[in-house]
């Protein structure tokens, strides 16, 4: 275990805890921002600079900005979220979603035994060109399925937002 990993791992976990315990909505979103940045630093450490940058520019730079936009549109600093937090149905829903995520994580532990023996990185690992190559040759189907999924979401959003198309 090296120091770099420990520092950013603690930062990510700590900020994650803050995200789910914060009283106000915006500080909670900022906690999530910290998680993203810590994760990005960890990706850098794993020799994946492109993923690290995407983590910042897409998750922190676009998706979270959208979340912050909604928070600022709907909640003023004076308002508190206690009535939302005390609502039992939200809690039950959260418990279900949380246990689902934990289950996914548990499946991920199947790969733990790969971590035990050290592996050498292939040549040019993490280079943008190589990732593009993999996307369009080895994982083309996955890539296209993901883009169709996004397209469906886009069409659905427009359908919901517009009354008469």
């Amino acid at each position: 275990m090296d120091l770099y990993f420990i520092v950013f791992a603690i930062m990510a976990v700590g900020a994650g805890l803050f995200t789910i315990t914060a009283k106000d909505a915006l500080p909670s979103a900022l906690g999530l921002l910290t998680v993203f940045i810590a994760l990005s630093a960890l990706y850098l450490h794993l020799h994946a600079p492109l993923i690290a940058i995407f983590q910042v520019s897409i998750y922190a730079g676009a998706i979270l900005v959208l979340v912050v936009f909604v928070i600022m549109l709907l909640i003023t600093p004076d308002e508190d979220l206690e009535n939302v937090q005390k609502n039992m149905s939200y809690r039950i829903l959260g418990a279900f979603l949380g246990s689902y995520l934990i289950a996914v994580l548990a499946i991920g532990t199947k790969g733990v035994k790969d971590l035990l023996h050290q592996q050498t990185l292939p040549d040019g690992f993490g280079h943008p060109a190589l990732i593009g190559d993999m996307f369009f040759k080895q994982y083309l189907l996955h890539f296209e399925v993901a883009s169709v999924l996004l397209l469906v979401a886009l069409v659905a959003a427009i359908y919901l937002a517009k009354k008469n198309i």
Binding site: L26, V56, F69
Partner: protein, 346 residues
């Protein structure tokens, strides 16, 4: 000199350079606006009023730091640094010159030549908006919140066309490294034009420039500040050096955007038709390449001022309409045509 010493010198140089540009720009802005409006502008402190930024700085530093009673204290103080720091950090990947040979050692005039350089700039530009949002929200004032709200919506809307315009550039050069992009812009295009990005991507350049103005919150897109509606928007409640950091960060941002524009579309430190390295010594060449870059950057910095005092402000719905209905479709068409051309010529 050891490598880390050279790196340290480069980092310090970049900081000082970014700061100097920001300081001088406040003066240029006021003098140029005065010139355009047939006034004199600040001309009392020093020759041509050149010491005016210094006087302003002293004023900002010595003013009382007032915080609204109902503000969120920690977030209120966090806002300005969060806005200014990403702006400074973006300079790290700007190639501000070719290379200089000192004491038999070849030094690249760029703090760090990473192969994702240009995505890094985009990412930091997106992070900068949190400074405005936090400042606006923590102030607990309706003007500030509206300013922050507008900043987020504007950033999301204009990131897309900017990304699309930059994607065409990536398609064209086949790399993310800003240094390699500049090196690929040497020589001539079609036999007589300089081999610059703007001649290969005129539409991409226009889209990028418009989006850059929106990202930097400059007139005609300075809706988050918008004096006539929101007092001064997200930094309404700020005073003293906290306000100074916001104003400063904006000029540093302009410097970065100008530098990126030069590197992507105007050949960076290279001169058209002339290869400076042929007839200049190694040290003189390094300095000359930096000067060329700086002159190009200075032009775009002045363009920011020029546009600000020439064009009126957009209305907010017009701003959104321009982003989503004009720039994004144009960007998509441009991307498609470029991809087709690149595919056909390879």
């Amino acid at each position: 000199m050891a490598d880390w010493q050279i790196d340290l010198i480069k980092v310090v140089f970049i900081w000082v350079w970014a700061l100097l540009i920001a300081v001088v720009m406040t003066w240029v802005e006021r003098r140029a606006s005065a010139m355009m409006q047939d006034r004199l502008g600040p001309n009392r402190a020093g020759p041509f009023g050149l010491l005016q930024p210094l006087a302003d700085g002293i004023k900002l530093f010595t003013k009382e730091d007032i915080m609204p009673e109902k503000a969120r204290k920690i977030l209120f103080l966090l806002g300005p640094p969060l806005f200014a720091l990403p702006a400074f950090s973006a300079y790290a990947v700007v190639p501000f010159g070719d290379k200089i040979v000192l004491g038999g050692k070849e030094i690249i005039l760029q703090v760090s030549d990473v192969n994702i350089g240009f995505l890094y700039v985009l990412a930091l530009g997106a992070i900068g908006v949190y400074g405005m949002v936090i400042g606006g929200w923590a102030s607990n004032s309706k003007y500030s919140i509206l300013g922050g709200l507008r900043a987020t919506a504007q950033l999301i809307s204009y990131e897309v066309p900017m990304g699309l315009a930059l994607l065409t550039i990536v398609l064209l050069y086949g790399t993310f490294s800003l240094r390699e992009m500049v090196l690929l812009q040497q020589g001539t295009f079609l036999g007589f034009l300089p081999n610059w990005g703007i001649f290969k991507q005129p539409l991409g350049f226009i889209i990028f420039l418009v989006a850059a103005y929106a990202e930097a919150n400059r007139v005609p897109f300075d809706l988050p500040e918008c004096e006539s509606e929101l007092v001064t928007g997200y930094h309404t409640e700020y005073g003293s050096m906290n306000l100074g950091l916001y104003l400063f960060g904006e000029y540093v941002n302009l410097g970065t955007l100008a530098a990126i524009t030069v590197s992507l579309f105007f050949g960076g430190w290279t001169l058209p038709y002339v290869d400076m390295s042929k007839f200049l010594g190694p040290v003189a060449y390094g300095v000359a390449s930096f000067m060329v870059f700086f002159i190009k950057q200075a032009f775009f910095l002045f363009l920011f001022v020029w546009v600000r005092w020439t064009v009126p402000r957009f209305r907010y719905d017009q701003l959104m309409g321009l982003g989503w209905k004009a720039l994004i479709p144009l960007g998509l068409v441009n991307l498609f045509v470029t991809a087709l051309l690149v595919q056909l010529t390879i």
